[in-house]
Amino acid sequence: MLTRWQPFPNWANELNRVHKELNRMFERQNEQGGWKAFPPMNIWQDDNQLVIEAELPGMAMEDLEILIDGENRLTLKGQRQQKQMESGTWHRRERIHGEFRRSIDLPSVIDADRVEATLKHGLLTIVMPKRDEVKPRKIEVRG
């Protein structure tokens, strides 16, 4: 599970913190040989948006619930069904199934009204526009 980030006064520090937090989590998961939180996520950004991606093969949008609380808390809920067969024998069952719920704090304040999520080829992509006040601003220097 991701731990809750404390608000940080300095933007650069906060970014470093995101990096550290994610790295730490990644290492911890490898040590234990399994995911602590499902689904694992990747995060990208540019000046205007945050993009989160999760691999959810076999899932449809109706199996999935995406919630945004406040300005920067994202929750993913869903259920991955396991295929049942009436007869025959299963030789391998490696694919993950069951219910999941995961919340993460986003490293930026986002505009919840303009969030867009797509699910394509088993890949969930959530595009979250940043709020204007956190976008970098160019400061005109007067000579």
Partner: protein, 135 residues
């Protein structure tokens, strides 16, 4: 198809999170997670291949070896990667199938990043009930 008949052709690579990752070319290749099911008529293989579409998928059956391979493009190259919990790369996995398969009738479907391959058995290997005649 029992454990011996259905073992994977390649098991040498180190395992991380149930995924076998190895380097071929400059990219990481992952072994997709699979479910395998069998009844008297067929063997069904279900593989998670998120991000793979039908144009980037190859399935081969040769010398009783089933190979599935999916190519994945690098995602969001225009953005800055902040961090993450999983790596992406192509998928590749080979299975040795013990039973005689009716190659002409092999079929596959890809839906929401999940590949399902049906491997119908040839008539000869299907268990047949032998009628016993009595006088």
């Amino acid at each position: 198809m029992n454990e011996v008949l259905c073992k994977e052709a390649k098991t040498k690579e180190a395992k991380t999170n149930g995924n076998v990752a190895e380097f071929t070319r400059e990219k990481v290749t992952f072994s997709p997670l699979v479910d395998i099911w069998e009844d008297q008529q067929e063997i069904v293989l279900i593989a998670d291949m998120p991000g793979v579409d039908e144009h980037h998928l190859d399935i081969e059956f040769e010398n009783r070896q089933l190979t599935i391979q999916g190519r994945v493009e690098k995602r969001h190259p225009e953005l800055t990667f902040l961090g993450g919990e999983y790596e992406t790369g192509d998928f590749h996995r080979t299975f040795a199938i013990g039973d005689a398969i009716d190659v002409a009738r092999i079929s596959a479907e890809l839906k929401n990043g999940v590949l399902t391959v049906h491997l119908p058995k040839v008539e000869a290997v299907k268990p047949r009930k032998i009628p016993i005649k009595t006088e």
